[in-house]
């Protein structure tokens, strides 16, 4: 077979192969769509995002409009999830609450990723003393129970939504640092890193262009799962009264507000609780699915 024939043949094979036209994101989505639970998770997450982004259009009532005459009213056609202790529409408050949860989730994860990942990558890439010092610092941070660290930070920074986000965000930094470190450690011995160095790439370029993109999949999975944790934590801190200030619609605070009336009006505490549960479940299912879909060992 001459070379020309051979290359022609290869060309045909390439044209016929079906994966050819699909980008890496399409490929991940295809694998994700094969799993029912992952798709359920994705649907829940998408609904959560939609309700957060389109809250003013979706909410049937003003979440802050109260009417003491109708306080603790049970679910009805006009107020599908009933009214709370101040007569506010629970459905509307839940829809608006999604905004706070989404915001908290995104900011917490951003803090974790943008601080934790560079720490971990640098630590793993340079190794030696740098790695030792950074990792002992990370160990120390990991030794604190997360919620305790968050409470401590709130005690220092003061109560409020911003401080909750910062506190929870900081407590996730060591987790991302560890994660990034372990993937870079596995990656930096690979030949393509050596090949990049052999064409004259600088350390910074190797880190940004070659190591970080290759370490992303565990970080994506972790951040999806973390979204759930962050929402749960924010709700927990809201429940303890450390989060948003009272009138704001936030799931944890709503849960806390309804707690007192659980015997006379179950719906006030139940529906926010259910929402937290469903959203967290959704993110967890999606995260699990992504973990399988992004697993490089499953690539063919």
């Amino acid at each position: 077979m001459t070379q020309a024939q051979n290359t022609n043949h290869t060309e045909k094979l390439v044209k016929n192969s079906e994966f050819k036209e699909r980008g890496p994101i399409g490929e991940v989505f295809r694998r994700l769509s094969k799993r029912v639970t992952a798709m359920m998770g994705l649907v829940i997450v998408v609904l959560f995002f939609i309700s957060a982004l389109l809250a003013p259009h979706l909410a049937p009532h003003d979440p802050y409009e109260h009417s003491l005459a109708h306080k603790l009213a049970t679910p009805s056609w006009d107020y599908p999830l009933g009214r709370d202790e101040l007569g506010r529409c629970i459905l509307s408050r839940i829809i608006y609450g999604a905004r706070i949860s989404l915001l908290i989730g995104l900011i917490v994860i951003s803090i974790g990723i943008f601080i934790g990942v560079p720490i971990g990558v640098v630590s793993a890439y340079y190794g030696g003393k740098v790695d030792f010092i950074v990792q002992r610092f990370v160990d120390t941070m990991l030794a604190f129970p997360g919620i305790l660290l968050a409470l401590l930070l709130i005690a220092i920074l003061g109560v409020g939504l911003h401080n909750v986000m910062i506190a929870v965000g900081i407590s996730t930094i060591p987790i991302y640092a560890r994660l990034a470190r372990s993937s870079v450690l596995a990656m930096k011995a690979r030949q393509f890193v050596e090949a990049a160095r052999s064409i004259g790439a600088s350390n910074l370029r190797i880190i940004l262009q070659h190591l970080i993109p290759n370490s992303l999949s565990p970080i994506i999975v972790q951040s999806t799962l973390h979204m759930a944790t962050a929402i749960l934590w924010a709700a927990g801190l809201g429940f303890l009264g450390l989060g948003v200030s009272p009138p704001t619609a936030e799931w944890g605070a709503m849960l806390n507000g309804g707690r007192l009336y659980i015997r006379v009006a179950y719906h006030v505490a139940t529906f926010p609780g259910l929402m937290i549960f469903i959203t967290v479940l959704g993110f967890n299912l999606l995260g699990d699915g992504l973990r399988d879909a992004l697993d490089p060992r499953l690539k063919t």
């Binding site: 290359t7 390439v14 050819k20 890496p24 393509f192 090949a195 064409i199 004259g200």
Partner: protein
């Protein structure tokens, strides 16, 4: 053939491009110091192809990687010697200066084409990286040049394949991409570290032809690291045989093939089938094992396996000495 680069000039052929002198690269491990490369010296002329031959672990790759200072440190360290390339000692210039040489003046191709490419970047981006680093292209501007390079190494439908990922290429195609990347900045020297070990025989021949054709067109000198003596015979002007981190024989490949002067070279050549020998000839393996590089004996490292040993060999190790025109050997015995 239209080629933007200069054609090889005969006058350049005799100029020395790279001079390696007494190169020593050691690895410091818990078990002891491994002298992976020990006092290796050789010259390379412009446009010349040098074959670096030896069995696994003899220091061929480490020796070549040392020139570009790509030895992972720790545990590896270049302990001594010099490598003069275009008037500069590569072992002593600053990190920034060596980065300007890597990929630009000296390029490298590795053993495993599939793992030498970053799996999450398209091959176009990866070839463009060298162009961005050394030839001042930007990401968009590099596209046309990348396509030209891919066509140059014989990848069909280059414009479309720029956006493909490495896993969509076969091993042989990946190695062609690596060759394109290596030659993208028109280097003076290409170090090919067993470029064909991971692909099958027919592809091996094709790849070597591509390397040979392109480097001779661009006037690029090549250091071809291999343990395949057949490859050396066909593609190489000069060959250097390494054993236990040392150079045992250097010379024009025709000369070394016809008149090997070192017992190890003789043994190597006797242990592979040759087309220029009678069919019935038996292959003769070399007895024994390669030595433990941590506990080398004081004299000649080949001594325990040598058929021509003398008393002197166990006392002092031989140095390279001239035995013919441009033909050096490190052995006390006078073998003809």
């Amino acid at each position: 053939m239209n080629c933007p680069y200069g054609v090889r000039r005969e006058s350049q052929k005799n100029m020395s491009l790279l001079q390696v002198r007494d190169l020593k690269t050691y690895f410091y491990t818990d078990a002891g110091v491994i002298k992976a490369v020990d006092r290796v010296s050789y010259d390379l002329k412009e446009g010349e192809t040098l074959g670096l031959v030896g069995e696994s672990g003899c220091g061929k790759s480490v020796g070549a990687l040392s020139i570009l200072r790509l030895i992972p440190n720790p545990p590896g360290k270049i302990v001594g010697g010099e490598a003069i390339f275009e008037g500069k000692d590569l072992l002593r210039i600053s990190e920034d200066e060596i980065r300007q040489i890597r990929g630009n003046r000296i390029a490298m191709i590795f053993q495993e084409p599939m793992t030498s490419l970053n799996p999450v970047l398209t091959i176009g981006l990866q070839i463009a990286e060298a162009l961005e680093l050394h030839r001042g292209f930007d990401k968009k501007g590099a596209r046309g040049e990348v396509a030209r390079l891919l066509r140059m190494v014989g990848i069909p439908d280059a414009e479309r394949r720029i956006n493909d990922y490495p896993h969509q290429f076969s091993g042989g195609m990946c190695q062609r991409v690596m060759i394109a990347m290596g030659l993208s900045c028109n280097p003076k020297l290409l170090i090919a570290d067993e470029p064909t070990t991971a692909v099958d025989v027919t592809i091996q021949a094709q790849l070597l032809e591509v390397i040979k054709e392109l480097t001779s067109r661009l006037g690029t000198a090549v250091i071809l690291i291999t343990h395949n003596l057949g490859v050396v015979a066909r593609h190489v002007n000069r060959m250097a045989v390494m054993y236990a981190g040392r150079m045992v024989e250097v010379g024009p490949s025709v000369e070394v093939y016809a008149h090997p002067r070192h017992p190890y070279t003789i043994g190597l050549l006797a242990s592979v089938p040759r087309l220029d020998q009678p069919r019935k000839e038996r292959l003769v393996p070399i007895d024994g094992q390669p030595p433990d590089l941590i506990h080398l004996p004081p004299g000649c490292p080949f001594l325990p396996r040598c058929s021509r040993r003398m008393e002197r060999c166990s006392v002092e190790g031989p140095e390279l000495r001239e035995v013919g025109r441009d033909h050096m050997v490190s052995c006390w015995a006078d073998i003809d």
